[in-house]
């Protein structure tokens, strides 16, 4: 371990914490001035085992949002069409009054909560409890539905347990072959790259599946640049070769899996030649990729939104799990992988009851035993617990249809991040009452009737769970602006005004965590054995951790899977096309994604000078052949049109994308929002919208 000391400037002290952005949750120190209490900079935290001091440009500049001039410091109430400053009592009374009024007139479920997972476990947990206990509404869902729901559903189906990564990052250094699928890892999880590069140093083979030559695809041994929306077919091709060439681990399949015969029969029809037709990837490359993975003694498969944000996201995930199971590459050192979580607390935030169908501890809201347990912890009667609510996009669509009348948005910016944003924005505008809690005036907050200012991550403490399933601790480095409350305090104050204050008597996050531990006890994501002290002492604790003396589980599935018989389930997947495929009118495919300089809807990173200098606006990546065909030059404006919307962007003519594919980063709102174009076709299982493939037409603008 690195024992470097840190530099402490005179008159300052360092507060150990973690970054507020992606699922890496990189450790960092914040530099705090002793006399003013202001956070003035960042210092690497060399001793934390995940990132060892390394940070991406978002992480380095994260502290700049803390004392940012754009911070909201007083509640805002819409009067005569304009948001105007108001007192806390006035704003909170109005919120509570409107909730009561709407629920009385239209029923409990007419008021919804829309959450997010860029906040601590304590807050995510409380969002679920707030909706069910304070409001009594079934309708709570969150932005993770657009992020990791497909990976979660896939892992649950195959393994019976969903933990983002099945292994600690350090296992990558033991892998001889690594498959990275639908992940622009170097831009979206930059500090993970050190592990992949070190694996390459020791000779690991790298296979990358991506329609673009991303910085990680550039160094791949095989880069399979597939047509967007054909992932499940490509994987069937790889599975076909794995079986045909005898790279399967028959003993592992026999003892630890079910469903092999059906899978074998299905993939038999997917010869490399047929798959080449569907995916646009040469058959030779498919065979080479399968052999590289099959021949390796150890191997890992990683995937992200590129395969998950599809109307068949769950099937795509299952295909990657099929690959790991067929080759016996899971539950051993250097074997496994999983999903690269995009949001900071994407893992913890989906475990503790912020999902329309779930209760804390990753319990189903339809399971009578789970309901009884959670109702007991919450001190309510089981029948008082609402049932399953609407998923995120369905909730927003219900808002547009006028079925949901009021909404409380916390830690999310659906006006930018939801697909088909024209429809979503129309709905948000038409709501009878919209409350947004945020620390900056986001595009969603601009539409609100009441905006409640809240704290940034460095102004509160609590835990998050990183992509590995490691529970870590965020520490408080600064005081919030005068009067500004953090999200759990807002929930408490509103609950009080709704006459439900007795269920929200918290004075500090540690009390919420205590309750969360108990609520999760015996569940899949069992946090019962985790404490703030252990997290600090052990550099994080991996769940499940059922007792205080349990070491936690860094590597999952070493002995058994989560299904009752302890075996994993193989799933035969027939390829089906994306919800929208190119035709004469819309002949190209649009895919969206991130850039390294911005995070999610950009509400934070678009306010940081250094990041905006690097990437001030979205652009259209287009191949030179396609650009020439449409008379488009580099850096000239292009109109991009789909069945749902149109927008104008500058072209970036690059050879690193397929000629039939266009790419737009999605971090901007309004006229610059890529999600005006995207297709809200949903996955039938997990309700993930299809951000990653839709039919599109372009013309010079």
């Amino acid at each position: 371990m690195n024992t470097l000391l840190n530099k402490v400037e005179p008159g300052e002290h360092l507060v150990p914490t973690h970054c507020c952005y992606c699922g890496m949750q990189c450790a960092m120190y914040l530099r705090v001035q002793n006399d003013s209490g202001k956070v003035v900079g960042v210092e690497p935290r060399y001793d934390f085992p995940v990132n060892k001091g390394k940070l991406c440009p978002k992480g380095v500049t994260a502290y700049q949002t803390i004392h940012h001039p754009d911070r909201l410091t007083t509640p805002l109430i819409r009067r005569n069409g304009k948001l105007e400053p108001a007192s806390w009592d006035e704003a909170l009374d109005l919120v509570a009054g409107k909730i009561i009024e709407i629920q009385k007139r239209h029923g409990k479920d007419a008021f919804a909560v829309f959450g997010g997972v860029s906040m601590t476990n304590e807050k995510c947990y409380l969002a679920g409890k707030f909706a069910r206990v304070a409001l009594g509404t079934a309708n709570i869902d969150y932005n993770g539905r657009f992020c990791m729901s497909a990976a979660a559903a896939g892992a649950n189906k195959a393994f019976g347990i969903d933990r983002g990564l099945f292994n600690p990052w350090s296992d990558i250094l033991l892998a001889d072959a690594i498959l990275i699928s639908g992940s622009n890892t170097s831009e979206c999880h930059p500090t993970a790259i050190q592990y992949f590069w070190q694996a390459r140093d020791r000779g690991a083979k790298l296979i990358v599946i991506d329609p673009r030559e991303t910085p990680i695809a550039r160094v791949a041994d095989v880069h399979l640049a597939l047509r967007p929306g054909t992932d499940s077919a490509l994987l069937n091709g790889i599975l076909h070769v794995i079986i045909a060439d005898g790279y399967t681990d028959e003993e592992f399949i026999a003892t630890r899996t079910n469903g092999y015969e059906q899978l074998k029969a299905t993939v038999a029809a997917y010869t490399p030649e047929r798959v080449a037709e569907i995916t646009g990837v040469p058959a030779g490359k498919i065979i080479r990729a399968a052999r590289l993975f099959g021949q390796a003694a150890t191997g890992m498969a990683f995937y992200a939104r590129g395969i998950e944000q599809h109307s068949k996201g769950v099937e795509n995930v299952l295909q990657h799990l099929n690959l790991l199971l067929l080759t016996g590459k899971i539950g051993k050192p250097g074997c496994g992988g999983g999903t690269l979580t995009g949001q900071g607390n994407g893992q913890g935030g989906r475990e503790h009851g912020q999902k329309a169908d779930q209760l804390p501890g990753y319990r189903s809201i339809l399971d009578p035993a789970a309901r009884a347990h959670v109702a007991k912890v919450w001190g309510i009667l089981e029948p008082e617990l609402p049932g399953k609510g609407l998923s995120a996009y369905e909730l927003l669509a219900a808002v547009e249809r006028g079925e949901v009348k009021g909404m409380y948005v916390v830690c999310s910016n659906p006006a930018v991040s939801a697909p088909n944003s024209n429809l979503v924005n129309r709905g948000l505008e038409n709501l009878d009452f919209l409350v947004v809690a945020d620390f900056f005036l986001s595009e969603t907050a601009e539409l609100a009737d009441v905006v409640l200012p809240t704290t940034v991550w460095a102004e509160d403490e609590g835990t998050t769970t990183n992509a590995e399933g490691r529970v870590i601790k965020i520490n408080k480095a600064a005081e919030p602006p005068p009067g500004v409350m953090t999200d759990w305090q807002l929930f408490r104050e509103i609950a009080k005004r709704l006459g439900r204050g007795q269920y929200f008597r918290y004075e500090k996050p540690a009390e919420i965590f205590e309750e969360l531990r108990r609520a999760s006890q015996g569940g899949i994501a069992d946090y019962y054995g985790i404490s703030y002290e252990r997290v600090e002492r052990e550099h994080g604790v991996f769940w499940p951790c059922p007792t205080p003396d349990h070491p936690g589980v860094p590597r999952m599935f070493e002995e058994r899977f989560g299904h009752p018989d302890g075996k994993a389930q193989l799933h035969a997947v027939e390829f089906r096309p994306a919800g929208e495929t190119p035709d004469a009118e819309f002949p190209l495919i649009l895919t969206t994604g991130r850039v390294v300089f911005h995070y999610l809807s950009g509400n934070q990173t678009r306010r940081v000078g250094f990041l905006m200098e690097q990437c001030p606006e979205p652009y259209l990546e287009i191949h030179p052949q396609t650009a020439a065909k449409h008379c488009i030059l580099d850096q000239t404006p292009v109109r991009v049109i789909t069945r749902r919307g149109a927008m104008v962007l500058k072209a970036r003519v690059v050879q690193t994308i397929r000629p039939d594919t266009l790419f737009i980063p999605y971090h901007w709102g309004k006229a610059l929002a890529a999600n005006q174009l995207t297709n809200p076709e949903l996955d039938p299982v997990c309700r993930m919208p299809e951000f990653k493939a839709c039919a599109v037409r372009i013309e010079p603008a």
């Binding site: 530099k7 060399y46 991406c56 992480g59 590069w197 910085p215 250094f610 580099d634 003519v653 050879q655």
Partner: protein
């Protein structure tokens, strides 16, 4: 002359273009909110390959040789510092002489500034900010022996490997490596 116990080793091909080194350079206390290292796209539009460009702290630096005022100090550890404020006369000779374009000129303050390897960190044994944060380890702060070993290994790879990538995109990092590996 004393030698540094550790050196800044640059592994160009590891660069992922995130510019974290630049963001972190700004954060170094002595850098007055300017960055002094650069990230260069090798073949824009053709490849996503980028390379970090920082001062190499040459043994016989062109910037020092051409400075008529003797304003650019070399520390006992071999670090080539920014021009001393009281000596720099703003002639910009150094910005023209450096083959790598490292010294920059601040037209408001009329003074040259450049990478000083975060001297207030490195003199105390801490890595410079750029190498501390570089997520892909394109910039590494390592022992000289380890750096020499990596350099040898890189030469071998260049001789044995060097085939174009799957997509047929050639990069010029091989050339850059040979320049930097002087």
């Amino acid at each position: 002359m004393l030698t540094l116990p550790k050196v800044l080793f640059i592994d160009f091909e590891r660069c992922i273009g995130c510019r974290s080194c630049q963001a972190a350079c700004i954060e170094c206390g002595g850098h007055e909110s300017t960055y002094r290292n650069y990230v260069i796209p090798v073949a824009p539009g053709l490849s996503t390959q980028t390379v970090p460009m920082t001062c190499f702290h040459c043994k016989d630096p062109a910037c020092v040789r051409v400075c008529p005022a003797g304003a650019i100090e070399i520390t006992p550890e071999g670090t080539v510092l920014s021009a001393a404020k009281e000596k720099c006369m703003g002639c910009r000779n150094c910005t023209l002489a450096c083959p790598f374009g490292i010294p920059k000129f601040d037209f408001e303050k009329k003074i040259m500034y450049k990478c000083d390897l975060c001297y207030d960190r490195t003199k105390d044994g801490l890595p410079p900010m750029c190498a501390s944060v570089c997520p892909s380890e394109a910039l590494q702060w390592i022992e000289q022996d380890e750096a020499m070993e990596k350099k040898r290994r890189r030469k071998v790879t260049q001789i044995l490997g060097g085939a174009p990538s799957e997509t047929g995109v050639h990069t010029i990092t091989g050339w850059l490596n040979s320049v930097a590996g002087r």
